[in-house]
């Protein structure tokens, strides 16, 4: 029993005072509860974001140890840097390849494991398994599979096909990375779509069937519109996630061959920690930050416009 409870109640005034004291203390406790998170957030996320803008205004080379203030020179330099443009094109090419493939395959897999068939739980588990495998481990295994004389090509030879040296080819390296990344993460989107599919009332589909609609028509006209909010949400996550391919690229190609798989996240690392151009690399980081922000805003607007029957 704490002292506040033991104390005999005074008049109504005393009681209100005590209540006010309780709520004041309660408010304070709110700040105490969020303090570790918020202070930590400021140190490890908030301040670094501000700093990266600041760094981008300096010609800071880590090896030389000099950092003269140069204003927006790094930005004009980047605008004239053909490599930066190539990296930007690669970044968007990667996303444009990954997002439709990932969403399409996720939807297909979700529909397949949603069928009332024996064994679908096992299939679901197997499709999901790569999600829990470490990305670096997954990339190492696929790097091995995609060697010139690796597993993929020797199986292709068995059926008489001649595979390229996937990761050393400027044509094939990028598509290979897209595919590897899709197989790694598509299981997650499959599960999210599956949850949405199972939320569609079967009566509606049944009614359409009675009215003579075929399975594809039912899927297109009824199921798909009903899971539209989830599709939108998943595509937002997937688009933003499509920029986070650092480990895959660092392990499998190192941005090569000839920078054909060098994307923004890798470029920032490369400029800062391989070329030691920390100021110029910060400019790339700012660019990455701005792109992600713009995409988020665009998608948020689209989500409001396209998804009418969203429940929240």
């Amino acid at each position: 029993m704490s002292s506040t409870v033991e104390a005999p109640p005074g008049g109504p005034l005393r009681r209100r005072e005590r209540r006010n004291a309780y709520w004041l203390k309660d408010r304070l406790s709110g700040y105490v509860f969020i303090a570790p998170q918020f202070i930590g957030f400021l140190i490890f996320l908030g301040i670094p974001i501000v700093l990266v803008f600041w760094y981008s205004l300096f010609d800071w080379n880590i090896l030389r140890g000099t950092a003269p203030f140069v204003g927006f020179d790094n930005y004009t330099r980047m605008a004239q840097d053909p490599l930066a443009w190539q990296v930007l094109r690669n970044t968007f090419a990667f996303s444009l390849g990954l997002v439709p493939l990932n969403l399409g395959l996720a939807l297909l897999l979700a529909v397949l494991v949603d069928q009332k068939l024996p064994g679908t739980t096992v299939f679901r588990t197997l499709f999901f398994a790569p999600v829990v495998v470490s990305l670096v481990a997954w990339a190492v295994v696929w790097e091995f599979l995609l060697q010139a004389d690796g597993g993929i090509n020797s199986f292709l030879s068995l059926i008489g096909a001649d595979g390229p040296n996937w990761l050393r080819s400027t044509t094939w390296a990028m598509p290979s990375l897209v595919v590897v990344q899709v197989f790694k993460n598509v299981g997650l989107n499959m599960i999210l779509f599956l949850a949405a599919l199972q939320g569609v009332p079967s009566e509606i589909q049944e009614a359409a069937r009675v009215d003579g609609a075929g399975p594809f028509q039912i899927f297109r006209r009824i199921t798909l519109p009903m899971i539209a909010p989830m599709v939108m949400l998943v595509s937002i996550i997937t688009v933003i996630g499509s920029f986070q391919v650092f480990a895959t690229i660092a392990v499998m190609t190192g941005g090569g061959p000839g920078n054909s798989t060098n994307v923004l996240v890798y470029y920032v690392y490369q400029q800062a920690f391989r070329r030691f151009e920390a100021g110029y690399a910060s400019t790339g980081a700012v660019l990455l930050f701005v792109i992600v922000m713009i995409l988020t805003v665009i998608q948020w607007k689209l989500r409001k416009r396209w998804v009418f029957h969203e429940q929240s």
Partner: protein
């Protein structure tokens, strides 16, 4: 009668076709793991043999011993485990406290502070790695595990956790806590004695996702660490090379198997918790 059996036969065909499609689609998900395990047991000659060797004739268990000879692998394993455990424990505490306060305690500025936190989730880690490196350098923490613990514990992972725990506590009936208040418990008492025990499902999901994400961390170890004895597993996996810098695939894949196998085992044993937990938290970005 005839029509019914005709329909059944057609259904069976449809089923068989469906199974075939699923099995074909499974290949790129399952085969790499099979290839990883079997190749880790092959001789150097079998690794790139043609026709491909599906199961090594004489499993080379010595490849696994070589992993520990080429790298301080046991130590690296320990590093990865202890960092992931430490980060997970920290995130559970930090995120559930903050998430609880944002869901339950009414204090001025709460919604603005929460929005500011959420904004942090959109920031790719590569954006802030340069300032973080500089900060850690000034603190003298380069080539230590301090950045690998602090950055996820307070950065994106705990912010995500705060978001998740807030969602959970918003859905928890308030009446349960009222009882505690009547009994004279303050906020801390209510949080630790009532809210936290009820949050077990959300905490389990957060544990899984935080552990896996820390376990997978690659950019930070790559940037901050230089001594092999301090490496974590993802970084260690990329270090297997012979004297000429060429890859030693079978040994590297043995190391990869050692890193992957325990996680896959836990996943298979607790797949429902994994799938639900990660799907629920799948909006991790």
């Amino acid at each position: 009668m005839v029509a019914a059996s005709e329909a059944r036969r057609r259904l069976n065909w449809a089923r068989a076709a469906l199974y075939l499609v699923i099995v074909l689609l499974l290949v790129p998900f399952v085969f790499p793991l099979w290839w990883m395990v079997t190749s880790s047991l092959k001789t150097a000659a079998e690794v790139f043999a043609f026709p491909p060797v599906l199961w090594p004739t004489d499993p080379q268990w010595s490849n696994f011993a070589r992993v520990f000879e080429l790298q301080p692998f046991a130590l690296q394993y320990f590093n990865s485990v202890y960092i992931a455990v430490l980060v997970t424990a920290g995130v559970l505490l930090i995120s559930s406290m903050a998430g609880y306060a944002f869901a339950r305690v009414r204090f001025p500025g709460a919604s603005v502070l929460f929005l500011v936190l959420l904004g942090g989730l959109l920031v790719p880690r590569e954006v802030i790695i340069i300032p973080l490196f500089q900060m850690m350098n000034q603190a003298g923490w380069i080539d230590t595990h301090v950045p690998l613990v602090l950055i996820p514990m307070f950065g994106a992972q705990s912010v995500f956790g705060t978001f998740l725990m807030r969602q959970f506590f918003l859905g928890l009936p308030k009446e349960l806590e009222e009882a505690g208040r009547v009994d004279g418990l303050g906020r801390f008492g209510i949080f630790f004695r009532i809210a936290m025990p009820l949050a077990t499902p959300a905490l389990a999901a957060l544990t899984i996702i935080t552990f896996l994400q820390t376990w997978d961390m690659f950019l930070e170890p790559l940037v901050f660490l230089s001594t092999p004895e301090r490496f974590t597993l993802p970084l260690a996996l990329t270090q297997f090379a012979d004297a000429y810098g060429g890859p030693i695939w079978n040994v590297q894949l043995a190391a990869t198997t050692l890193m992957t196998f325990p996680v896959l085992l836990v996943f298979v044993l607790a797949q429902r918790q994994f799938i639900q937990g990660i799907a629920q938290t799948g909006l991790k970005g």
